[in-house]
């Protein structure tokens, strides 16, 4: 990704540009104009406003007053905030396991000599493209405690009925099931691309050395796949920490709880509720920055730890 080309820092003293270089610079900034304007107006400015608002008592309308760290302190002392943090982490860790491990197994199987490989690949991928809200409503039906298909299928083997969406202890599990079901195909496609990038010569050399297929799998496939695995782990976790659609579409009730007794409440749904249903924009902005810092810290730690298990040869 990194480019070896030398960079001219705008502030550095420059030799007079040739006609051609000037022309090229003008062309380049002309082409970048829409992006620079757009990112400036719809990213840089909102980012700055967000940080500012997080230190104010901003409501839906009216002028905000500066309140220092009050919003952050309020969050740290608030039970609902900690519920959302706990739910977010439990959800993220479980979804990591249930969306990455099956994806890896399926990708390994599809990398073998399998008939109708592209058919299977397409089948696993269908939940990825389907509207999250659409499939969440579908699962709301499938997971219904009285007439849902899942409890019917479980009753055939003598289990249940399980109150998937109606009891707090099952709420988050339902979100994990739906989100993992929707994410497996995406991760599988990435793993499959990674597996296909492992050079065949490595296996041939190992075979000549007498390594059996399991040794080859542990000593060649998994290490060669580790950059892909790292990518999947990092992106899945970042997406999980920001989950919104599934808990809302699966669990939003008339009383604005997210799941029974807020059992599906993760950080972004809480932020939405505080900002747009309760009108506490300053407080919601502080929640957003807490989430941002959590994501940055976790991603940074993952990059640091990655040197121990990710193989970049």
């Amino acid at each position: 990704m990194s480019n070896a080309q030398t960079t001219l820092a705008p502030a550095a003293p420059r030799s007079p540009m040739s006609q051609r270089r000037l022309r090229e610079t003008l062309d380049a900034y002309g082409m970048l104009m829409p992006t620079i304007l757009g990112v400036g107006i719809f990213f840089v400015i909102p980012l700055a406003i967000s940080l500012f608002l997080s230190f104010t008592d901003a409501r839906l309308f009216g002028d905000p007053n500066f309140v220092g760290f009050a919003n952050y302190l309020r969050a740290l002392g608030n039970a609902t905030f900690w519920t959302s943090i706990r739910n977010t982490f439990v959800f993220s860790l479980a979804t990591m396991v249930f969306s990455i491990v099956p994806a890896l197994i399926l990708a390994i199987l599809l990398n073998e000599k399998i008939i109708a490989r592209s058919f299977f690949r397409a089948a696993f991928f269908i939940p990825v493209v389907a509207s999250v809200v659409g499939v969440s409503l579908l699962w709301r039906y499938l997971l219904n405690v009285d007439f849902g298909f899942v409890n019917y299928a479980l009753s055939l083997v003598g289990i249940g009925p399980i109150p998937w969406l109606t009891r707090p202890e099952w709420g988050l599990i339902s979100v994990i099931i739906v989100f993992s079901w929707k994410t497996i195909g995406y991760n599988m496609v990435i793993f499959l691309a990674g597996l296909q990038g492992v050079p065949a010569q490595l296996y041939e050399a190992a075979s000549l050395d007498g390594a059996n297929r399991w040794r080859q799998f542990w000593n060649i496939t998994l290490p060669m796949l580790s950059p892909t695995t790292f990518f999947v782990v990092v992106t899945t976790l970042i997406n999980c920490l920001q989950v919104f659609d599934v808990p809302i579409a699966l669990g939003l009730t008339r009383g604005n709880t997210v799941g029974p007794a807020d059992s599906m409440l993760t950080v972004v749904p809480l932020l939405y509720r505080e900002a747009f249903l309760a009108g506490r924009m300053g407080y919601a902005s502080a929640l957003a920055w807490i989430l941002f810092v959590i994501i940055m810290v976790i991603t940074f730690v993952q990059f640091r730890v990655s040197s121990r298990w990710v193989n970049y040869d």
Binding site: L32, T35, L109, V129, I190
Partner: protein, 279 residues
């Protein structure tokens, strides 16, 4: 057979069993959804559930279209999606070409900063974006669903990778003939980049068609809502009518499934490319 794990017939049997069961778990819910949308309101809550409706009837679809403006909302979603995809293509083709091929002061810095924007969670932007939309007068207008979202660092990265793989001789020959940079971009690079643009479009389509959080915040009148909002309203108003909710869900999900089946290759290539970017 170097690197293969499966050898014996029973190993293949287990592999096929896993693949078929998983494939069933992934696809069956959709079949059940479509079937349920054709059932009557008493059939959908029947225990034990039947897969097929006793009589196939499209009444649910007509009723959904009558009780919530889902037809209008589908049309709004189409407009928003077209706008976002067109915007993605224009902004990322231009930016990607500049980043891939032109030399100018600040290039690496700008590109790095643009990719850095991907780090910021969307949640950080929604509150201030709402206030900016208030200032622009775009609250409850479709512009708010299109204009702010036509810039994509991911798409710029994807196209930049593609443009960098195009041989330099091609544009040098065109430069000799006196073509401008803009001429080269539109006449040489754009036609060559068609597959990459197709991949980009599939992602823009998914992103815009399925978007939910932002429309939920910014659009409030039923006639301007998008399909995902219409579905949530349908669920809230007619929670007891599973047959209607399934008809609505089918209307929202079916277009994406059809486009996926037609353009499968571009979806899968796009993900594989971004995944390999991790290397």
């Amino acid at each position: 057979m170097a690197g293969r794990i499966l050898r014996r017939p029973y190993e293949y049997a287990i592999a096929y069993a896993i693949l078929i069961i998983t494939g069933f778990l992934m696809v069956f819910p959709f079949i059940f959804m479509i079937m349920s949308s054709l059932k009557t309101s008493s059939e959908v809550v029947q225990v034990p559930p039947q897969l097929f409706p006793s009589v196939i009837q499209l009444g649910n679809y007509f009723e959904v279209l009558r009780i919530v403006p889902i037809g209008t909302q589908l049309w709004n979603t189409v407009l928003v999606t077209l706008g976002v995809v067109a915007g993605w293509i224009v902004t990322s083709v231009l930016a990607a070409y500049a980043f891939a091929r032109l030399e100018f002061p600040g290039r690496e810095w700008l590109f790095g900063a643009y990719l850095g924007t991907l780090m910021v969670p969307f949640a950080v932007l929604i509150v201030p974006m709402y206030r900016i939309m208030l200032v622009f007068g775009w609250v409850d207008r479709l512009e708010a669903l299109i204009i702010p979202w036509i810039f994509t660092a991911y798409g710029t990265f994807l196209l930049r990778q593609f443009f960098m793989s195009i041989p330099k001789d091609l544009e040098e020959a065109a430069m000799m003939d006196g073509a401008s940079r803009w001429g080269i971009l539109f006449r040489v690079f754009m036609p060559l980049a068609r597959p990459a643009i197709a991949t980009l479009s599939t992602f823009g389509f998914l992103y815009a068609w399925n978007s939910f959080l932002w429309p939920l915040i910014i659009i409030s009148s039923p006639q301007k809502k998008v399909i995902t909002q219409g579905l949530v309203d349908l669920q809230a108003l007619y929670a007891a009518r599973v047959d209607l909710v399934m008809a609505g869900s089918t209307l929202a999900v079916l277009p994406t499934l059809l486009i996926f089946l037609l353009a499968q290759r571009y979806f899968i290539e796009g993900i594989a490319t971004s995944g390999l970017a991790g290397r």
